[in-house]
């Protein structure tokens, strides 16, 4: 009874994943340019959500500063694109700000490989450093979250203030080329989209692997009882740092992809509101379930764009209402809702069978 109930579910899940992957890969065939672009943006956000879920859902660390990691990745890619598009000239904003020479730290970004690498490494290293000073000192919970908010404010102020080097409030925009190809062509757009799908799949598999491994078990142990884990002989802080760094690296990766799709990065992308929105993606999808993070990201990003198009004056109210409904009534998010429904169904079925004993409680699966 038990196995026969689980097996079809696995098969169903596999089929579901396969269909979803096929739908994503074939999207360029049936979506318009604009829709494809929008979907690509959603998928980029899904990657951040995965990383956040690893940190929040599995390790119990709430970061309200992921906009920074996302933004650092985005800036790394944007710097490369800006340099390539400017050709031999200085980027336009440096001209306006009176610079005559390319700043030294911009130089290596002429290389795509360097930029792509830095887009992941810089956020990850920043997270490691921040993690080192916080987790080592057993700063956690709300205090850690407040620190991440401080990080947001510092970074945004820095980027706005150092206009000559970062483009200030305007951010970086106006890219035209990549690898010598025009970014405007349909082929380039399709390629960039497919790269995003592959990146999402790889990120998903990476997170899945981490979660299923011993590493993931320790993360959950830390979430559920940090001291107990410490007494068992594990060092929670190094695990937390690792989770934080992976999560930040994924956010950086997402940022790089985001720039390719949207064509602009500005400090507003790193600010407090986007950082909180990223957490909401996870909350709405269902934290502690990787697929929930992806579902939340896709649904919310689409809803945001659809609602704001349909109700330009009121869309924020709808969005706000949705957040309230989900946090108050659906603590497990969308995936949690589905689980509860399924549980109810099985329970009812089992009640009919008068076979109550065979149910394995699945109660804590959601959190």
């Amino acid at each position: 009874m038990l196995t026969s109930a689980i097996l079809p579910r696995r098969v169903w899940l596999l089929i579901g994943y396969a269909v979803a992957a096929a739908a994503l890969f074939s999207a360029p065939l049936y979506l318009s340019d604009f829709r494809l672009n929008l979907l690509a943006k959603c998928l980029a956000f899904a990657i951040v959500a995965l990383g956040l879920d690893l940190l929040w859902g599995y390790t119990g660390i709430l970061s309200l500063g992921h906009g920074v990691f996302f933004g650092l990745g985005a800036y790394a890619m944007a710097m490369h694109l800006k340099l390539v598009s400017s050709g031999s000239r200085l980027p336009d904003f440096m001209d306006w700000m009176g610079l005559t020479k390319l700043p030294w730290f911009w130089e290596p970004f002429k290389s795509f490989a360097f930029a792509a690498l830095m887009g992941i490494i810089i956020p990850a290293v920043l997270a490691l450093v921040l993690g080192f000073f916080t987790f080592r000192n057993r700063i956690r919970g709300v205090y850690f979250t407040i620190l991440t908010q401080a990080l947001v404010i510092i970074t945004v102020t820095l980027f706005v203030g150092q206009q000559a080097y970062t483009g200030g409030t305007n951010g970086l925009t106006g890219y035209t080329k990549m690898f010598g190809y025009s970014l405007k062509s349909d082929t380039a757009k399709t390629m960039v989209y497919l790269v995003t799908v592959v990146a999402l799949l790889l990120s998903f598999l990476l997170c899945r692997y981490l979660v299923k491994s011993r590493f993931g078990k320790v993360l959950r142990a830390i979430r559920d009882g940090e001291n107990r884990t410490r007494f068992l002989g594990y060092d929670p802080s190094s695990y937390q740092m690792a989770a934080f760094a992976v999560s930040a690296g994924l956010a950086g990766l997402a940022g790089m992809l985001f720039v390719l799709h949207v064509g602009i990065v500005s400090p507003t992308m790193m600010a407090i509101v986007p950082s909180i929105e990223m957490v909401l993606l996870v909350a709405i999808g269902g934290r502690g379930t990787l697929i929930g993070a992806v579902i939340g990201a896709v649904i919310m990003t689409q809803a945001k764009s659809e609602l704001s198009a349909s109700y330009p004056d009121f869309w924020l109210f709808f969005l706000g209402a949705l957040f309230i409904v989900v946090t108050v009534f659906l603590p497990g998010g969308i995936v949690g809702l589905i689980r509860q429904l399924r549980q109810k169904l099985t329970r009812r079925r089992n009640e009919n069978d008068i076979n109550l004993n065979s149910i394995v409680p699945e109660s804590n699966g959601v959190v």
């Binding site: 206009q163 602009i264 500005s266 704001s308 809702l337």
Partner: protein, 427 residues
């Protein structure tokens, strides 16, 4: 208890999502029904997004921040643009077609502006877009309009040094606002200037120009201070102003910061009689927000005031109050947005088409009797000739003109006609 909650939650969520989906569908339905002939038309005449307007209406986009920090300013521009559309529709529309406005929210977020611009051009296939306020939002939209060969009408004064083939600039460029105002100050013998601005591209560029102009004309910028957008503590700056004893403070602060600055200036016991300030981002709407009592006697530079004395402006102000309430005020960017709609309509009529390239060609040299007086599109740089006006803020919140340029000034975004600006316009 828990079950009850669950059930309730589920029902609520379902109804909420149903409602949302339902609304979305309704709207989509309406959209797709109106754009169905559009896509057919587009496929038969691919190159023109304008030919897509197969039915009785032509779609135009309106893209301003309706939420976020910039909404306080941008909503009013959206309103005046919608009013212009309504007026034109009442007179029979453009080329026999009624204008249908597709309103989008840029949300004070530059990437959103880029995304929405792309949506308007490629999904809605609008003939043109009216939108933007901050230079950042314009710079975010520019690549999209150039890529998809769209047409953007940008209604706000800005820092110049730009001329995109896909943008028409109906606000003032620097030689239609900032440079004449500095000349005005120099003429009055105000030579020691304190530059104060928000930290972003417009104030930085404006101050660069002002410094060059002052240096060439015997004036001096004795200090240059920037504060982040949204900054609200000006006590340090005011202390610095007191110490520097400038003849005038040239204020390029934007948004909320103006409220804090002028209130704290008054609290510090400094009135307009003690210290002259000239602002370039404070118009009637902002005066209303800050409170006229803090601003009485201070100067501003624009191309239009609610008090501007033309027959067209009387009608404009009257209609605006009728549409949006007797307390509403009109301001320069609102007027520029209103004018933009009329200029586009006139260009489309002249071109006999909504096609972007034809409209652009036809727009060259088009004249229009605007509320601010006669304006003309300069074919070379797609800016418009505008009359410059220096005004003084009165206790009732209105602005009274002290000086004007006597006639429309030719736009010169790259400052090519100024000897001292050589080094600036090279870039």
């Amino acid at each position: 208890m828990k079950k009850g909650n669950l059930l309730k939650g589920f029902v609520l969520a379902m109804t909420a999502s149903l409602a949302l989906v339902g609304c979305g569908n309704n709207n989509n339905g309406a959209e797709s029904s109106s754009s169905a002939p559009a896509s057919e038309a587009a496929s038969s005449a691919p190159a023109s997004s304008a030919a897509a307007a197969g039915g009785e209406t032509v779609k135009v986009g309106i893209l301003h921040s309706l939420s976020g920090t910039m909404s306080i300013s941008e909503v009013t521009v959206k309103n005046s643009e919608l009013m212009a559309i309504k007026e034109i529709n009442a007179k029979g529309g453009v080329l026999g077609k009624q204008i249908e406005a597709v309103v989008e929210d840029g949300a004070s977020d530059w990437p959103t502006f880029a995304e929405k611009a792309r949506k308007l051009l490629s999904e809605d296939k609008v003939a043109t877009v009216f939108g933007g306020w901050t230079s950042s939002s314009r710079k975010a939209m520019l690549p999209v309009f150039e890529e998809l060969n769209g047409l953007l009408w940008y209604p706000v004064q800005y820092e110049g040094l730009e001329s995109s083939p896909n943008i028409f600039y109906t606000g003032a460029t620097t030689n239609q606002q900032i440079i004449p105002s500095v000349d005005f100050l120099l003429e009055k013998g105000k030579k020691k200037v304190f530059l104060l601005g928000s930290d972003y591209v417009f104030p930085r560029t404006a101050n660069k120009i002002i410094k060059a102009q002052l240096a060439a004309n015997g004036g001096e910028a004795i200090a240059e201070e920037y504060t982040p957008l949204g900054h609200t503590d000006y006590t340090t700056i005011i202390a610095k102003i007191k110490e520097a004893k400038p003849d005038v403070v040239y204020n390029t602060l934007n948004g909320d910061s103006n409220v804090a600055f002028f209130k704290q200036l008054k609290d510090a016991g400094i009135s307009s009689a003690d210290l002259m300030t000239v602002s370039v981002s404070v118009a009637e709407e902002e005066v209303k927000g800050i409170g006229p009592e803090y601003l009485t006697g201070h100067l501003v530079a624009w191309d239009y005031y609610q008090t501007t004395d033309t027959p067209e402006n009387k009608v404009f102000v009257e209609n605006f109050k009728k549409e949006y309430g007797p307390d509403s005020v009109t301001s320069d960017p609102m007027e520029a947005g209103y004018v933009a709609v009329y200029l586009w309509a006139a260009a489309a009529e002249k071109a006999g088409s909504f096609e972007v390239d034809k409209v652009k060609e036809a727009a060259k040299g088009i004249e229009f009797n605007a509320p601010e007086g006669k304006v003309t599109i300069d074919g070379d740089n797609q800016h418009i000739y505008k009359t410059v006006r220096i005004g003084e803020i009165k206790a009732d919140g209105q602005i009274v003109e002290l000086w004007n340029s006597g006639g429309p000034v030719k736009p010169d975004p790259y400052l090519t006609t100024y000897e001292w600006a050589k080094g600036l316009s090279d870039q």
